[in-house]
Amino acid sequence: MTDNIVKIRGLNKTFIRKTLITRHVEYIYAARNVNLDIPRDSFYGLVGETGSGKTTLGKLILRLIEPDSGSIIFDGIDVTRLSQREIRRIRPMFQVIFQNPQSALNPKQRVKQLIGNPIRFQKKLDSKSVEKEVFRLLDEVQLSAEMAEYFPHQLSGGQIQRVEIARALGLKPKLLVADEPVTSLDASIRGHILNLLLQLKKNREFTVLFIGHDLHIMEKMCDILSVMYKGEIVESGSVKQIFNAPTHKYTKKLVSMRYISD
C-alpha cells in the first residue's frame, strides 16, 4: 500500500454570485467531487485550463478557503475538521507559493521581514539566527543580500516571485503547494529554482503539488499528473501515460500543442 501524504475525497466548492440588479444567481463550480491521492515524497503535477479550479484546489488543501463538503486527510489528520487555531499549529508543515505574490506579500514589510518573521514566529529562533537563515534563503534563490532591505514595490516581477519562494521554503514544509512558481523567471533562473526543488526532494521529506501550464517543465518535474477541467479532475496518471495516450478532449488538444512548439 502506498503512503499518501494527502488524501482527498468528494471535495466540493461552489462560488455563488448574486447580481443585485437582475437578482440573477450564478454558480461557479470550482471543485466538483474531487478525489486525489498525493503519494509522500512525490512531485504531483496539476494542469488545466485557466479558471478550471487549480488555485482553488490548492487553497482548499491548505484550508485557506473552506470547502462545501468532502474530506482532506493530511498525514492522517482530517484538516476539514480542525479549528482555525489547530490549523495554525500545523501550518508550518504545509506552505504555498502563491500565484500572484505581488498581492500576497505585505507591501509594508521589507524582504527580511517577509522571509524572517514566519521563521522567527514558528521556530522561535533569536534574531541573529533568523537573519542568517534569511541570507541563506536569499542566496538559494539567487537574490543578493542587499535585497533584504527592499520593499516589494522595489522589486521586479521575478525578484518578488523568488522572495515568495524563499518565504515558503523557509519553514521547511513537508508539503509545498507551488502555484505557477516559475512563470515570471527567465530560463536561467527558472532552471536554477527547479534544480533547487529537485535537490530538496533528494535531501529530505518533501512533497510538492506543482501547479503549472508549461508541459515541458511538468514532464521533467512531476511523477504524476492530474488534469482539471471545469472544477473536475478529468484524468490522472503517470506523466508518460498522459502524454502518450491522453483521453480527455482538453488534454488531447494541450498535448498536441506540445509537439507543434517543439
Binding site: M147, G158, Q159, S188, K253
Partner: protein, 324 residues
C-alpha cells in the same frame, strides 16, 4: 519605411541616499509600424522599467531622472508634460502590466473598468461601449462575456485577469502595444489564441508590439526582431530568423541555450553566478563577471560599444563569428 518609435540614447536612473542608481543605460531601439519586437533578458535586468519609462509612469518612490529621447512618430515624448502624455497613455500607446491585480480597481466590476477607459479617451459611451466591450472580451477568449463583465477582479483566476488587462489595452486600438509577460500564466492553447488575436490587430490596424516575455519559443514565434537586455544594457538586437543560430553575443547564446536545451541527468541548464545588483558600478562588460566563455582582456576594462552588421547589432568585444 520610417519608424513608429525611436528610443535614442535613453537612460533611466534614480537617486537613493545620495547615490545614483542606473537601471537603464543608453538604450537605442527602433520599432517600425506593424512590427513585433521581442524584449528578453534576465529577471531584474530592466524590462518592466523600460516598459513604464516609455510612458513615464513613475512608480519609483525616489527622485528619478530620464535622459535621451523617445520619439513617437517624430515627436519626443520626453518633451511632453504630464497632461499631454496622458492623452497618449492608454490611447496611442497601451501597456499591459506584469501584475494585473495592482492595476485593476478592486471596487469596480470589470464592465465599469473597461468602460472608464473608453470614456476617458472619448471613444464610446452607453450601449455602443457595452457592445465594444463584449466583442473585445470574446476576442481574448472569454466565451461568456456577460458573466465576466459582472465580476470583480478578486472573483477571477490569475489567467482571467491577465486577459482582462489585454482587453483593456487593445480596446483603444493603440499604435503601440507594450505587453509585459501577458501570457505567462496561460496554457499553450489560450496563449496561442490571444497572441494570434494581437497579431491580427497588428496586421489589421498596423499596431506595433513590444512583447516582453521569458517564454522564448513564444518570442521566436511572434516577434520580427528580438532585443536582448542584460543589466540595463541592450546587448544585442537580432532578426528572428537569425536568432537561434546567428546570435553574436555570448549572453544571448547562453540564455537561448538555457531556454531551448534539453534537461540533462535531471538537471535544468542555467548560467553560473547571478546578475549584478542595481547599485553595483561595473567596469568593463558586465557579462565578464558571469565567466563569459569568450572574455578577453579588454572585457575587464572597457564597456564595448554597440556595433551593427547586416543582420542586427551587438555590444561585445569578442562576439561569436557569423555562421556559414
Amino acid at each position: 519605411m520610417s519608424e513608429l518609435l525611436r528610443i535614442e540614447d535613453f537612460s533611466f536612473s534614480y537617486r537613493h541616499r545620495n547615490t545614483t542608481i542606473s537601471i537603464l543605460k543608453k538604450l537605442d531601439i527602433l520599432i517600425f509600424p506593424g512590427e513585433v519586437v521581442g524584449l528578453v533578458g534576465e529577471s531584474g535586468s530592466g524590462k518592466s522599467t523600460l516598459a513604464k519609462a516609455i510612458l513615464r509612469i513613475p512608480d519609483f518612490k525616489y527622485e528619478v531622472s530620464y535622459k535621451g529621447s523617445i520619439y513617437l512618430n517624430g515627436n519626443d515624448l520626453m518633451q511632453l508634460n504630464d497632461t499631454q502624455l496622458d492623452r497618449i497613455r492608454g490611447n496611442e500607446i497601451s501597456i499591459i502590466f506584469q501584475d494585473p491585480l495592482s492595476y485593476l480597481n478592486p471596487m469596480f466590476t470589470i464592465h465599469r473598468q473597461i468602460k472608464e477607459v473608453l470614456k476617458h479617451h472619448e471613444i464610446a459611451n452607453g450601449i455602443v461601449a457595452d457592445e465594444m466591450i463584449r466583442r473585445c472580451l470574446l476576442n481574448v477568449s472569454f466565451n461568456y462575456p456577460d458573466r465576466i463583465m459582472r465580476s470583480y477582479p478578486f472573483e477571477l483566476s490569475g489567467g482571467m485577469r491577465q486577459r482582462i488587462m489585454i482587453c483593456m489595452a487593445m480596446i483603444t486600438r493603440p499604435k503601440l502595444l507594450i505587453a509585459d509577460e501577458v501570457t505567462s500564466s496561460l496554457d499553450a492553447l489560450i496563449e496561442k489564441e490571444i497572441l494570434d488575436n494581437i497579431n491580427r490587430l497588428c496586421s489589421d490596424y498596423g499596431t506595433s508590439v513590444l512583447l516582453i516575455s521569458h517564454n522564448l519559443p513564444t518570442i521566436l514565434k511572434y516577434a520580427n526582431r528580438i532585443a536582448i537586455i542584460y543589466f540595463g544594457h541592450i546587448v544585442e538586437i537580432v532578426h528572428v530568423n537569425n536568432a537561434q543560430k546567428g546570435a553574436r553575443h555570448p549572453y544571448t547564446k547562453a540564455l537561448f541555450s538555457c531556454a531551448l536545451a534539453k534537461v540533462k541527468d535531471g538537471v535544468f541548464p542555467f548560467i553560473e553566478g547571478s546578475i549584478p545588483k542595481p547599485h553595483d558600478v561595473i567596469v568593463g562588460c558586465p557579462f565578464h563577471l558571469r565567466n563569459c566563455p569568450r572574455a578577453i582582456d579588454a572585457c575587464r576594462t572597457t564597456l564595448p560599444e554597440m556595433e551593427s552588421y547586416d543582420e542586427g547589432s551587438f555590444r561585445c568585444h569578442n562576439p561569436y563569428p557569423v555562421e556559414g
